[in-house]
Symmetry: none
Amino acid sequence: MNIRTEIIAVGSELLLGQIVNSNAQFLSKELAELGMNVYYHTVVGDNPTRLEQAIKIAKERSNIIIFTGGLGPTKDDLTKETISKSLGKELIFDQAALESIEQYFVQTKRIMSENNKKQALVLDGSYILKNDYGMAPGMALEVDHTIYMLLPGPPSEMKPMFQNYGREYFQNQLGFQEKIISRVLRFFGIGESQLETDIQDIIDEQINPTVAPLASEGEVTLRLTAKHVDEEVANQLLNELEQKIHARVGEYLYGYEQTTLAQELKTLLIDKQKTISAAESLTGGMFSEQLTALEGSSQFLKGSIISYSNEMKAQILNVSKQTLDEYGAVSEQCAKEMAEQVRKISNSDIGISFTGVAGPEPHEGQPVGTVFIGISIKDSETKIYPFHFAGSRKGIRVRTVKYGCHYLVKLLSEIE
Amino acid sequence: MNIRTEIIAVGSELLLGQIVNSNAQFLSKELAELGMNVYYHTVVGDNPTRLEQAIKIAKERSNIIIFTGGLGPTKDDLTKETISKSLGKELIFDQAALESIEQYFVQTKRIMSENNKKQALVLDGSYILKNDYGMAPGMALEVDHTIYMLLPGPPSEMKPMFQNYGREYFQNQLGFQEKIISRVLRFFGIGESQLETDIQDIIDEQINPTVAPLASEGEVTLRLTAKHVDEEVANQLLNELEQKIHARVGEYLYGYEQTTLAQELKTLLIDKQKTISAAESLTGGMFSEQLTALEGSSQFLKGSIISYSNEMKAQILNVSKQTLDEYGAVSEQCAKEMAEQVRKISNSDIGISFTGVAGPEPHEGQPVGTVFIGISIKDSETKIYPFHFAGSRKGIRVRTVKYGCHYLVKLLSEIE
């Protein structure tokens, strides 16, 4: 069977721009993992005529049609009634759904209306998808070689219903024997086009597992997806592919799945039992904010000094007057002193400094994008990393912090 | 003319669920404001045959068709070429677009490829929508009583293009006589349901202007929208409505349109020529980061101390040992000393402190959500604001910073 899936979202609130169609995104991701091709998303309002038209079009071009929305108590039977009409299938009461709705009203001590009762109406002959987080049940049925699935609109009900019952329905109905496993590799310090160039032949020759690159905010991720009836073999396929990629661009790989550079830094700091403090100038607290956003950060972050003015650099960080006069605040020398001083003042194992020009105006004769990161580790020579970033004030600050985390992760990984 | 608008997004990344169709939401909101009915959203992949089919369907049911995506350099001419074919309109080079693309490559010292040049191809006879944030121009044209508009996919290019040029095109082309003017009022310190209760009768009785509330991250906004052929009258309608709202909940109004509490604080600090510094504990740099994200922040922010450990509080901020031992770090007394000390150390006019428990664990016997904000202004008595927030670590930190800005704005507004 050549799978051609269409997702139809029903709801005028989508057409008015009051909400974004996050259901379509969620389902598309899930369906991609199942190996089901999605060819169309459609959004149509709470209007029976236009919905009927949309169903007619979908029937012609798709063989799996998934509806979200239009099952709730206010515009309750719109989707169900229109589909009922389009497919010539009657609506009947589902006893289990009716009981679960009644139970809900008893539990919440509210009074059940006739409208609520109508939520238990289902398409005759359909397979019921239980709603563990709401009242309207979902349903699925096959008519004339086309599968129809009806899901509720609220994401809090739709997502668990699909994950717990919808996926399984498709797997059984379409006779999927294969398990699908994904792994996300996260890279930093290499541009998207460079990474793609470095592994282009791998991307091109892969069919199973597949490799999908995605770039955002200076980071690149690769999603590897393997299919096999044996989960262990699927995992083995991912391992082999990862090794190949590792041999090419492994030095830029910093983590897996949903991790962040700050998260990896946290793990290493705790693992190596090191404390850290930061002297932040152009980043203005962004580095410290990202670390303290993580639970348990008081274990490793002693604190930081945001030395935005030269006065603060001199008086609190004890950066020498000579350095500020001779080299300026945006200099290798200043970055070095800031990192060393903040480490000493806070009595930490590691001190990191960020100084530079975020813009929009140049500073002390240095162009926008000039950045120095200093890292001082107890009993080691202080390291200085110079940069010339392009981009907006925000982009420069964000990349500065990411590079700081990146080099800390590198240096910490090398420590015994 | 009975307007029936359809938005067609082109891009396989949408069908794979890698991104959400936020463009459709944005455009729907804009079109609703213009009074244009949106009846369908369609998403189709980077596939000429299926795109052609989608265009055919759209032509039959819609008379305004807006495309997003498929203008970029990698899958460059998909949307343009398919539309060119569907409408029988040739693609020709637009001289202005070509020059602007060439200029971009000169500026960024990069080499222009043939693919980049193709971005300057436009549909013959179309009205060009300038791209101020990228290379591919947008375009609009009318064929057989149907208006086609092509917009780029990246929201950072599409949104300003539509707001600056697309809206105007529709207003002229559709001969809208009425001007539509919106004004967003921003509130802080009052919950959404309380604000709605306080002005429910105003919301209910309004037809022109309309009032639409929206809540996010502890803030509430009201969007007032007036329509009138005379722009001055429309503005007058907004003024009258704003006055009515002001009489009820004016004390919580802090700004208009896209401003933020940090932005308002910046304006006041510059206006009153005051400098500030912060002692941040639970917020870990978030307050300072928000201020330094704004251009020109070195005018008013001297710097900050992130005293995450008690050691830092004692040694750098000089919080007395007695306070830390007797009252603890999460106390009114500690907040007071932190605010006063950071102001003195940094030689600023204002010192603000944040201390509290962001969670997930209680700290020094204080429950999660306990927060103290201290504000020390030169020659004034230090003010302490205690809070008991509910919610996540992130939510507690975000609201703490917002309340800090909120009280600073209040206090600064009262200063001569």
